[in-house]
Amino acid sequence: MAVATSGTTTMNNVEAVRHTLYEALKADDRTLILGEDVGARGNVFLITKGFIEEFGPERIIDTPLAEASIAGVAIGMAMEGLRPIAEIQFADFIYPAFNQIVGEAAKTRYRSNGDYTCPLVIRTPYGGGIRGALSHSVSIEALFYHVPGLKIVAPSFPADMKGLLNAAIDDPDPVLFLEHKKTYRLVKGEVPQGHYTIPIGKADVKREGDRLTVVSYGFYIHQALEAAAQLAGEGMDVEVIDLRSIRPMDRTTILASVRKTRKLLIIHEDNKFGGIGAEISAMVVEDAFFDLDAPIRRLCGPDVPAMGYALSLEEAFMIPVPRMAEAMREMVNF
């Protein structure tokens, strides 16, 4: 973490994203924001509120209701030297932009052998637990993490939000920046002042321990830490890694931890089958098979198309802290 700062400020995740975007717009006139309702409305979570008044409608672009063009126009801007920050209002609406992101942004540098590049950030709120029902709750990381040429980050602490968003904006390649909307106002933390970046591709050990490695990210990293704190009270020290970056993925940190604890539990909200946890497990088995004392376990969202609107259905989909603690206990005692 390259920090040049005098102090810190307490912020929630919305404030951290807003603050970082604001500083970027101030510092670099190659940056601009485009998306649906980012102007007068200031984005549906009020992240860009007031920006259009300060930076003008040419840099804070209320786009038409058309996601493929939001991504595609941003790609063209990036190819010609800007640092566009595109917003997809909810991650659920990114599907129409799939071709532009996967087929175009991720391949621009490769197909031109470096003649053209695509330094683009696409921000989008994802995840559930907010009564968003079928189309305002999805996790999308597993639909994109297989794609070489893309980077994907999913920070969930305010300080990480700022450091990784700065890194994403500076990055010379396309970055998908995922913000778990349930953490937006729920999660508060100290954010260093001044400009700093956190390297994309580095996970963060948020809690040290030696009995079990837990890898998570998003809203669940907060729940996993709560569960780990419970276990600590029971005398079991669990190591909790916040993945933060999904591609590139920090194999080094995960392997070092697993070699120490000899057990791995992966927790994510997204469906299990083909989710991020599959790659983490396969990667660890490849490189640290003989260091493992127990099967790797994945505690993940159920394999159903989406979470329902009814509270009972949403609760059935989400994994509460006690279930996480129970899985951790089982692994420790295995």
Binding site: E36, D37, G39, A40, R41, G42, V44, K49, D62, T63, P64, L65, A66, E67, A68, S69, D92, F93, Y95, P96, R131, A133, L134, S135, H136, K272, F273, P302, D303, V304, P305, A306, G308, Y309, A310, L311, S312, L313, E315, A316, F317
Partner: protein, 340 residues
């Protein structure tokens, strides 16, 4: 190709007095149900509601032109009145708001996202314009099966016309001359995005030309004008003469949803400017002016509608939530993926 239906269309229609009263009732039912959603939201009983104040005339007029049991409706989330108008039960509206197990989506869908195959009301998602190709596919089936006298009515907002899927679907429908009417409920806004930031076209009907389609612009605040326009367009489709793009001008009087606050992006003056066009008092005036209803009749109708809405609210609220295990139903036919 672009045609306008005159408005108000007094005396130029074939609607019986009963039918006119039915239309007003539908408008009141819509507004009352809408308000109920907002009330329940304020009371903390439901987390979300969405209203269509300003769209009542479109819904009543279109519903009056719709052939129940024959036509198919592929609506969007702003169509409460239209869905009720083609036969959906008010109880279903409340079950959707309350996300009860008896809701037709099993409490899965957001409020206002209905499904009712028996009524010919196609299930749709929240993804803007994603339903338009489905409507076209459905209309293709009618054509393929040579089902004379049937048509699809597909609705969407002004903002929705920007989506690529909208474009591809209209183009497909035009090429194959399938029996469909595309009804754009142009309320000038897409959340906070005004039409000037959504398109440079003067009118939405202008878009029809590039698809080789006939178009019709109607006063969406006048249920009779809407009825006449839709009847003509639906008849054309039913007779095998292909699709029409209908633009119905209305206004979204409320915020986009309960999660929105329209004061952040539009002036109160603008909203007030549109108030005199509010379709409900305008249509009441027409009915009383023409001796079809008295003020007392209208009051009685409102009371009766409110009683019905109160009744279905109580009934819906008393019903159970879906069981957690329901989460695994209907992923595929039969059981959930057995290998997992």
């Amino acid at each position: 190709m672009v045609k306008a239906i005159e408005s108000p269309a007094i005396g130029k229609h074939d609607l019986s007095e009963d039918r006119l009263r039915w239309m007003l009732r539908n408008m009141h039912l819509q507004r009352t149900l809408d308000n109920r959603g907002f009330q329940l939201n304020r009371q903390g009983k439901i987390p979300f509601a969405l209203g269509s104040e300003g769209h009542e005339a479109i819904h009543a007029g279109a519903a009056a032109a719709f052939n129940r049991g024959k036509d198919l409706l592929v609506p969007y989330y702003r169509d409460l009145g239209l869905c009720v108008g083609i036969g959906m039960e008010p109880l279903d509206v409340l079950l959707s708001m309350f996300a009860r197990a008896a809701d037709r989506s099993g409490g899965r869908q957001f409020p206002n996202h209905y499904t009712n195959k028996a009524l010919g009301l196609q299930s749709f998602s929240s993804i803007i314009a994603a339903h338009v190709p489905h409507a076209v596919g459905a209309a293709y089936v009618m054509k393929l099966r040579k089902e004379q006298g049937r048509a699809v009515l597909c609705t969407f907002g002004d903002g929705s016309t920007s989506e690529g899927e909208w474009h591809e679907s209209i183009n497909f429908a035009a090429i194959h001359k399938v029996p469909i009417v595309f009804l754009c409920e142009n309320n000038e806004w897409a959340i906070s995005t005004p039409r000037s930031k959504q398109m440079a076209a003067r009118d939405i009907v202008d878009k029809a030309i590039g698809y080789g389609l006939p178009a019709m612009k109607i006063d969406g605040m006048d249920p009779i004008a809407v009825y006449l326009g839709l009847r003509e367009a639906l008849e054309r489709a039913r007779n095998g003469d292909g699709p029409t793009l209908v633009e119905a001008i209305c206004y979204r009087f409320l915020s986009h949803t309960t999660d929105d606050d329209d004061r952040t992006y539009r002036s109160r003056e603008e909203v007030e400017k549109f108030r005199p066009l509010d379709p409900v008092p305008r249509f009441e005036q027409y009915l009383t002016d023409n001796g079809i209803m008295t003020a007392a009749d209208i009051e009685a109708m409102k009371r009766e509608v409110l009683a019905e809405v109160n009744d279905v609210t109580d009934r819906a609220e008393a019903m159970p939530f879906p069981d957690a295990s329901e989460m695994y139903a209907n992923v595929y036919e039969g059981t959930h993926e057995p290998w997992l």
